[in-house]
Subunit: 245 residues, 2 copies
Amino acid sequence: MSYCLAIYTKLGLVLASDSRTNAGLDQANVARKLYTFVKPGERVFVLLTSGGLSLSQSVLALLQSDYNAGYGLANVATMYDAARCVGEAVRAVAARDRQFLERDNIGFNVNFLVGGQIDQQPHELYLIYPQGNPLQATPDCPFLQIGESKYGRPILDRAVKYDGTSLEQATKLALISLDSTMRSNLTVGPPIDLAVYHANELRLRQQIRLSADDPQLLAIRTQWEQELRSASQRLPVIQFPGEYS
Amino acid sequence: MSYCLAIYTKLGLVLASDSRTNAGLDQANVARKLYTFVKPGERVFVLLTSGGLSLSQSVLALLQSDYNAGYGLANVATMYDAARCVGEAVRAVAARDRQFLERDNIGFNVNFLVGGQIDQQPHELYLIYPQGNPLQATPDCPFLQIGESKYGRPILDRAVKYDGTSLEQATKLALISLDSTMRSNLTVGPPIDLAVYHANELRLRQQIRLSADDPQLLAIRTQWEQELRSASQRLPVIQFPGEYS
């Protein structure tokens, strides 16, 4: 399993992923799930991926090959077209592999998040389903998740606002969401890859990989656990019927 | 979907459930999922159930009928026997209904949590799988969940300790876990049924149903959201390579 999330605010995008991949319980390896395509001053795309690693690698190989040749993500006109471009690559891999997977009862499962900006157009964020169709993040729904998304969702539901969350704050929330998931599910694991895109910069100046023992990650994890415990202790004590004074 | 959880500490048990039941998205009704069997001074059992409502009702009908006749939960000798007794009732319903469900591709899915105490024996907590076999909570694994369990798990993983968590505190944590799940998943909904069993009391004096607009539930929800937001703001700001001073 994987867990990737992207937060969409007025000020930009925060994109983060775990890096665990496994084929069976006894084999856990590290695989990068965050990819960037950047032409400084013109276009920035950050892609996150979950699902079958063989499939996502094939999709990325297609996208990279077109990009290098000046096609695809290198010349799409809008973010919607970029999302469609990733969807077409997903469908191309499906056309090649899906029947062979299904013959052995393996589902064709690969998901992408695509965030970025082109020229003076607004920054946008999309989820691409295994069928290739795109879903866009909106101010009412300012984050998207793929993979093992449930453990890390409550903090996002409660704290992410399109209008009111700074990118610094969204970065912390993304790390909390990922760390909560890693704590509760062994198939999601470090290192964490993280990229922050500031709207209208058209370059990617904030990107980091946090290993399991990274001091910044440990500091956030430790402080968050302490904060959660002390916050829960400050909550009012529940009174039961018959006990009211 | 449902969500039920039970916390097992040195001092007793906290058991809580949502009450939403649905057959298709357009039909959401209320169904009780917390049941008690109590002979004051002798034995206390609290049962929580998730899965098919038709199945859990049948299991409870069998348990209640035996109990009323002085058998089953009314005369099992140990908590392990109580767990086995619930498992046998699950298997009896499976024998009656499973093939008819599977003929229409409906899985036989019903889960129970069973907590309680008999006489001078220790209080214990079990999960009963749809196959009828029991799993016991231990000091190392001091909570059990059934149903839609992922959203509400991170707070339990981080804050529940068998040795160190008071029942008052465990009650708050159970409510936070349930409320987080209701916030993120529409198929889990109020009212919340909650029972707290204090070890060695052999009666059940703390039980409450909290509706969606219960002032205690609203107070906890509001304060918890505020606490989460301010706690996340106190976390250290992530520094990116090249930005270190």
